[in-house]
Amino acid sequence: MRVIKFQLNGREVETDAPPTARLIDVLRDEFAYIGSKEGCGDGECGACSVFVNTLVQNSCLIPVGAIEGAEIMTIDGFSQTELFQMISECYSEAGAVQCGFCIPGMVMASAALLSKNPHPTEEEIREGISGNLCRCTGYNMIVDAIDLAAKKGEGLW
């Protein structure tokens, strides 16, 4: 059986998982990075969002065989960065977190948006998190948090 090598949160790793295993399962079960959640398993809720070569993607839709040589960053790795600290602070300040299940994905989507567009309009923020479902907040506090992160994190993104 072929081994699949990739970079995970800055570390070179390999897995002998079957190539059609989903990345979300390999991350959680084999590498114990349990920050990424499985909500729907259909690519609709965004709770499993990770960065693949810096682009936000749904890890429930990615067969691990397709990521040979890729750089994967999960919320577990991202939480060690200055960018995360800024987002985290703003989510707290805006009261954007209730049950928390969607938050790892929301944070990844927020970071993906801000690194592409450091000064998003409200419409663009809503578009940026349009692939992430939150059943508690009604989204408004999350939108506020991202807006705050854009302003307070000026120059970071």
Binding site: T20, D29, E44, V56, L61, I62
Partner: protein, 281 residues
Amino acid sequence: MGTVLSYRLASLEETIAQLSREDCQIMAGGTDLMVQHKSPMGAPARFDKPVMFIDHLKELKQIDQVNQDLHIGACCTYTEILEHPLIPNIFKVAIKQIAAPAIRNRGTLGGNICNASPAGDTLPLLYIFNAQIRLRSSKGERVVGIQDFILGPRRVDRLREEILTEIILPEMLADRIVFEKVANRRADAIAKISFAGSMRLEGGRVGEARFAFGAVGPTIVRSLDIEQKLKGEAFPLDPKVVDGVVAYFDRIITPIDDHRSTAAYRKTVALRLLRHFLETM
């Protein structure tokens, strides 16, 4: 079942060579296939054939203009197409309505075509642009029109040894071009109805009109006959002409009831989108 055999070869040539030897499930982004083949309880997705991964192949990720035609590599993601300066704006309007950023970073144009969903978001526009599909195999290559390539839901005219390499988009001159998608919400939604239309005027008359409907039949619905008949009609169109076109599509559109919508709703909205398109400029 045992472990699934898969391939992720270094080049398109090697991929084509392997496809000539073995029937494989070709996988580009996997955003449809991984859901369709999902196993319960986090077990690997199940396929009855070896999986051929192709989304890393650089040969399938180019976007070039050749004469007046745009050549789009089959594995260009929606995001790559959205951000490319050569892509016609109306395609960007449609692609922005597909899913959400994370899926657009992974799903590909070639995948959307080969998945051949009646509701495929890129399909109505590809039809009215008269897009061509280039297929390659170890025996050579062929180019086929999109309307001949898509045979029905999840069925395309691709031989098992063939791979879709690029989509050729001819230039289209139009004074007006629209794409409409009707769905439950703006993101992550599959169309209940989609519609694409284009109109070119020549001295106050219709020079060329094209329109296509998605999600109202097994494949995209387009009628070259009715488009031909509209040629030369004075614009704005006479209400009788509009009524005639709408009545014609009322006969040939055959939507179904499903969990997303009803046949009656689909037909009503499809015909209203058509009427609105014909009556406004």
